[in-house]
Amino acid sequence: MKKKMNKSIMKLGLCFIMLFALSGCLGGREINDLEIVIGMGVDKDGSTGDVLLTAQVVKEGEISRSGSSSGDGESKAFWNVNGKGKSIFDAVRQITHKTGNRLFVSHNQAVIFGKDIAMEGLQKYIDFFLRTHEMRPTTLILIAEEQASDIMDAKPETEKLPAINIAKLVKTYGFTSYFYKVNMKDFASCMMSETTASLAPLINVSQDKDCKDVYVSGMAVFKNGKMVGKLKQDEVRGVLWVLGKVKSGVIIIPSPNEQGDVVLEITKAKSKVTPEIRDSKIIMHIKIKEESSLSEKNTTENLATISGLEKMQKVTAEVIRQEILAAFNKSGEIDTDVFGFGEMLHKKYNKEWKILKENWDEIYPTIELRIDIETKIIKTDLLKKPATPSEEGK
């Protein structure tokens, strides 16, 4: 009896030991021994050429303190620690000696690269962020118009942590569709493509009196990992129309009959791109379906009539077409395939692509776009007639 009992305990013990032996699951860490990194900035040290890493570490004591201490301008809930090193990992380990604890980067919200790093090429810097197991592939990637560390320093008014503020404002791109969020995984997969240019939001700080505001000014265009140019907000939306990534946003069109503007809000947008090679010419058929609602207008005319809506729909289509063409022209200038047309051709015309890709840079600007836009204004929100004196007796 006792022997059996011993044996059973031994069996259980063996199972338990196997937990550790087979999985290597050791090394629990107390939560307050962590230095939680919420954002990272990568810059280049001009003089030495070393990497200058800024890690934004949370000061947990300040987090819990509610707004009462806001009068004390000095108290910040974050701490930007700098580290220099030959590589990013080197710099990360250097920072450990300043913080006293190992950095914990699982909750990193955004990685911001300085402009000089982006110009040099992200290829060799991004490797660490993709390789390390603690890092999430969904971490946002951003390019600073100047130094990344400046952006990390800009203390937001409502949020306590700049990195969280930045992540938030990038994630709300859908309201305008003037840029879109790019995370590590997306960026890396774009970089792996031979022709497609990768995009990343450009972020900047505006000095306004004594407070600094962070905003996204457009998107940086990368070719072979190096930043080659910049797309402005309208141009970015041109790209997004084609890619079908427009979520919502505002289209301003001139009022069809009177002086003044009509503002539409995009409620739905779909796109379909079919490449075609005809007579040794590449034609991209772009079909866009868009639905919007009339959200604002500053004219007195009643546009909620069938003819009024039809007119507006035509004008809207024209505006969208112009945005797409502007984006295409811009990308032609810097010779980068921001739309990913190359990949589409690759999929459909596998054989021809082998020849095409050799001279893709020359071919790309000659692509003919055939844009077919179908727009629909589905509602006029709460008002049908404008709030003007009604015309008596029609």
Partner: protein, 609 residues
């Protein structure tokens, strides 16, 4: 070391699994009976074989944790007669004890000898509450000496005075048209107006009767004793159940009196097929127990098995059904209970109607119902009484409560120590901020709070009534608040412990709640040593263990463990009442349907009209 090598070998090489269990509830009502009869006929050789089989046939996990109770296992197949024979032989072996011989001796005709003997047995006058009343019966022309003996307090004194002593002493003088010359016949037929009166011939039975609240009357010249039922002890009335309150449904609970309890069930079921089988348990205490079942529903082999186990219990004193539960359950070390423990007659009745067996112990307001599956423990009485969507809401809440009680502290420890990346960023920051000034590791912190919560709970039960709620408030509010402001624990931890505690109260079966309270500490340890991996290891072991377990031949996880025909029939979620046509399939009952296929006949009538 050799043991270790052997264990390793066992893991690496396949071995034929043993026969799983000694009793499996099979389908078919006759098989069980036959096999049992065979066992009895074949006698001892067969019995030895059976014992060996039992020894061999214990499954792995059971083998690990069950102490072998060979005795009960091998005596168990004894039939009734066999059992009493054994008792006699036992008695003979103990023949050095003079008492036991005398008990077997027959009653003398001489009342003086009887009186002397009874005095000796009851240690009069050492024993204060024994009342021996000597008197004389006037019969025809002569007077006959007699005495009555009973325990003061156990009998109804008015009853003894009015309908035993008074008729014997006074009314026997009255001329009654009786032709009997025999005084025993005369007394039985004309004088004692008692509904329950026995004529006993052995001291043993007389003494048992007296111990159980009867009044024994010895009459000179008669070698038999009148044992009149005059039980009149004080007892608690029928009250509302304390542990299993419902809002909607019957409000009666069991009391301590066996007959009242069985009557409560009979009152609900009103079924002549309801059998109340009496069994005495306890060598000395002779506690009367009743085994209840509905004869034409229940599986016969299940009845045999329960009877076998009850008769195989050999202890001196049985006080409460909780003790009996521990003596008849399948596995002592299984973390979950295998018997339903309830104080509600309506609940017992429902289980009886489903083909289960109830055991009521005299002196205990809790009835045992077997066999029990995990789901029975998880169901509450009220589930069947409230409308079905509400019942399902309650069940979801209860499942959630089980999850919280069992795993929440363990998961908290695992996450905060190993899986920081799983918490949403804001929550992580909040937890970190709240733990900033706490000097202890989080496991220690959690254990402090869990232990003090258990302290409050235990003290709350022990503390005298009026102070109880005060303690709760002092303990929960002030202690928690003070612990937080003293930076001993973090506020988030207080929430965890409080939610865990509340969750454990939402589990309907108290025994199951105990089990989860205990296991919670194991999960804290596992979570602290190996994170989620440890917790899943624990869950894996626990489920293996439970999946193996059987309660009276019925697998505990049925109908999901082994899948049965009614796998989707209201175990986790309840079906509407009109759909509950069949009794649980795992009980292999004699009549499968509990209501007509279309239980709402008015629906058809409506269409016809």
């Amino acid at each position: 070391m050799a043991l270790l090598r052997k264990t390793l070998k066992e893991y690496l090489f396949f071995t034929e699994p043993d026969k799983p269990d000694d009793f499996v509830l099979e389908e078919g009502k006759d098989e069980g009976n036959e096999s049992c009869n065979d066992a009895v006929k074949d006698g001892s050789g067969e019995k030895r074989e059976k014992t060996e089989k039992v020894r061999k046939s214990k499954g792995v996990i059971k083998k690990l944790f069950t102490p072998e109770r060979e005795d009960t296992a091998c005596y168990g197949y004894d039939s009734n007669a066999d059992n009493s024979e054994k008792n006699e032989s036992d008695v003979k072996k103990e023949s050095k004890d003079p008492e036991s011989i005398k008990r077997k001796t027959s009653i003398s005709k001489d009342v003086a000898r009887n009186l002397e003997y009874m005095r000796k047995v009851y240690n009069v006058p050492l024993n204060g509450d024994v009342v021996i009343r000597e008197f004389e019966i006037a019969f025809k022309d002569k007077t006959i000496p007699a005495f009555s003996i009973f325990f003061d307090g156990l009998v109804d004194r008015m009853l003894v005075n009015e309908s035993i002593l008074k008729p014997l002493m006074l009314l026997s003088n009255i001329e009654i048209k009786g032709k009997e010359d025999d005084i025993a016949d005369y007394v039985q037929k004309h004088i004692l107006p008692q509904s329950q009166m026995l004529l006993e011939e052995s001291y043993e039975k007389v003494i048992f009767g007296i111990n159980y609240g009867c009044c024994a009357i010895f009459i000179d010249g008669v070698d038999k004793v009148f044992v009149a039922d005059a039980k009149g002890w004080e007892h608690r009335g029928i009250e509302r159940p304390n542990a299993e309150l419902v809002i909607q449904g019957p409000q009666e609970g069991f009391g301590e009196i066996l007959r009242i309890n069985t009557a409560l069930i009979r009152k609900i079921l009103k079924d002549e097929k309801l059998i109340v089988e009496d069994i005495l348990i306890g060598e000395r205490s002779k506690t009367p127990c009743s085994m209840l079942y509905i004869k034409d529903i229940v599986n016969d082999s299940l009845v045999q098995e329960v009877r076998r186990r009850l008769k195989g219990v050999k202890i001196d004193h049985l006080i409460d059904s909780g003790e009996l539960e521990q003596l008849i359950e399948d596995s002592t070390y299984l973390p979950t209970p295998q018997v339903i423990y309830t104080e509600r007659p309506d609940r017992v009745s429902r289980y009886l109607a489903n083909g289960r067996i109830a055991i009521i112990v005299s002196g205990s307001p809790f009835a045992l119902v077997v066999p029990a599956t995990m789901w029975n423990l998880f169901h509450a009485t009220e589930d069947e009484y409230v409308r079905f969507p509400y019942a399902n809401l309650l069940r979801v809440v209860r499942l959630f409560a089980i999850f919280l009680t069992l795993l929440l502290p363990g998961i908290y420890i695992a996450i905060t120590n190993y899986h920081h990346e799983m918490i949403p960023t804001d929550l992580l920051l909040a937890i970190e901020a709240s733990r900033e000034k706490v000097p202890f590791p989080s496991v220690f912190e959690l254990l402090i709070m869990e232990v003090s919560f258990e302290l409050i709970r235990e003290a709350g039960i022990r503390i005298p009534g009026p102070i109880g709620p005060t303690l709760g408030i002092v303990g929960a509010l002030i202690l928690g608040q003070a612990a937080v402001s003293a930076n001993i624990v973090s506020p988030i931890l207080i929430i965890i412990v409080a939610v865990t505690g509340i969750g454990s109260f939402a589990i309907p079966n108290f025994s199951l709640a105990y089990s989860f309270r205990l296991q919670r500490f194991a999960y804290i340890a596992l979570g602290a040593t190996a994170g989620f991996l440890g917790i899943s290891f624990g869950l894996f072991i626990m489920f293996l263990w439970i999946a193996k377990a059987k309660s009276f031949g019925v697998p505990v996880l049925v109908p999901y463990g082994p899948t049965t025909a009614d796998v989707n029939k209201g175990n986790i979620f309840r079906n509407p009442t009109w759909k509950q046509n069949r009794r649980p399939d795992d009980l292999n009952v004699k009549s499968k349907n509990s209501q007509q296929e279309i239980s709402r006949q008015w629906k058809i009538n409506e269409e016809e009209n």
